[in-house]
Symmetry: C2
Subunit: 333 residues, 2 copies
Amino acid sequence: MSLSTTKVVRFHQTGNASVLMIEDLPVTEPGKHEIRFVVEAIGLNRAEIMFRNGAYLEQPELPSRLGYEAAGIIDAVGKAVTDFKVGDRISTIPAFSMGRYGVYAERAIVPSSAVTRYPKHFTAQQGAAIWMQYITAYGALIYSGKLKQGQRILITAASSSVGVAAIQIAKNQGTMVIATTRGKSKKQFLLEQGADYVIQTDSEDLVSTMANITQDAGAELVFDPIGGQILSQLAEVSSKGGRIIEYGALANEPTPYPLFSALAKGLIIQGYTIFEITQNKDKLEEAKAFLLTLFNDKKIVPVIDKIFAFDQIRQAHEYMESNQQKGKIVIRV
Amino acid sequence: MSLSTTKVVRFHQTGNASVLMIEDLPVTEPGKHEIRFVVEAIGLNRAEIMFRNGAYLEQPELPSRLGYEAAGIIDAVGKAVTDFKVGDRISTIPAFSMGRYGVYAERAIVPSSAVTRYPKHFTAQQGAAIWMQYITAYGALIYSGKLKQGQRILITAASSSVGVAAIQIAKNQGTMVIATTRGKSKKQFLLEQGADYVIQTDSEDLVSTMANITQDAGAELVFDPIGGQILSQLAEVSSKGGRIIEYGALANEPTPYPLFSALAKGLIIQGYTIFEITQNKDKLEEAKAFLLTLFNDKKIVPVIDKIFAFDQIRQAHEYMESNQQKGKIVIRV
């Protein structure tokens, strides 16, 4: 890498992992409210797969950068930035346009409002593997769900990085945690993360198993990234007055709304993304304070599944799409 | 009527209004926690039409009584009842099984917990036309919706008794009230009740009209008894972070869940029935206190559309099913 260029992952068309290209782009100066940093590690998220496919909330302007999460060391700050300085060890919070600021790069620029210090005892790879998953889970479970000791929570597709973060936070709140996964290969892993029960949805019936586990009381909170046909079952396994938080559309099929269950039980079904927290300064500060306490008290440690090199970015995306991972996929830069 | 029998409306099979029969049944004594009253007026609700059709949350045990709302004078109290006495002028709150306690009768027995005094300046016909509609609207708009001055609310199918109650409460909260109705016959009536705008859904496009009215900001709260295909449009016209409260299933068709709008806007879609309030003593007391203040300050007056005689009960049901009414249908007993 010359001093005046840096390697950046971009795509010139939407599609599968093969559209990702590593390109040399000029290094630019951060704007007034931005910082530039030398990237040490990148955390991968399903949002980036969807963005690359053209199926995300934000549509890419081609050619497009991508990436929400990275950790590194600041090497330049904008004129109006007062809370960070060159040399600071920071990681990014997903509170920006991925197309404009995408952090899949060796050097990247982001708004300083989307930057934070991470616990000293975390490696850069851990620092790149915290904010997306833990803020997403915090916003749903604590901010919206107001999860309390003794309640029951159902976490579907629980082996993703957000799923694992949700298990850890829910367990720390003193709740009964029920996790779902498709195969049996991840069952032991989910139990180790703190799940009290794991339901294998390819071989066990969700509704009757939940009825057994909860003695027909159902779950006060359901945290689901799947949507589609499963929503009706989630309504069935919810408690009276329960809340279902939908945070994804993995099923990629129409989602019938369970109107009669919703009326009979007074169910709340809520669409949710991390931006509800990250785009609001006060909510974000509350989230960070809550999580930093858990990190610093060593009550929660991010789970890294596998580490890829920067030039293996396509393989890393393909690995995420294969759904084998248990926890976070990280790129070492 | 002999002293030992009373006329009661029952049905021996589910079906259209012709299944309703007026029968002489023995007068029984109230149980320990019940009161008996001489009925002066009965308020009709769509719940009773659905119950008669076998399409309500509660299934009838045939032959079945029906009816949630009546006003009258107490003529006997159970042994454990201390807060009411013979001669009290009361009306009923829907907080009981309609099949067991149905108040379509000349004398009826209900749990004392479902009984309340109504404002002295109201007639019995007004007394029978308040609790269902105003508690339903209160629970959605105030308790769940936390409707505040300056917000915008969309009230669909607004000419029903609950719709009118919602308009009145919303207007009293200082909000912008947008009401929908199918034809133009009820437009003037809804404006007179306090709606700032009325959208005629048979001739005006809901989404673009709402965009014009709210200058693209959308409604913070939507209160809808229809469900079905309209839910996707309601999501489109909701504000960021908006709440849609579904309280019925008039469309009688599958209801697609607008997952992508819900995710993008962080929408809350909530199933709701009056029982969420009436089955909880504290919530019910709060509701009554809120509403009695509005009634006693004469800020809100129930709107009675048409009064039928007791032996016209079938015609009264048919009239409700014809959807001509603007406000409450009442039976004079």
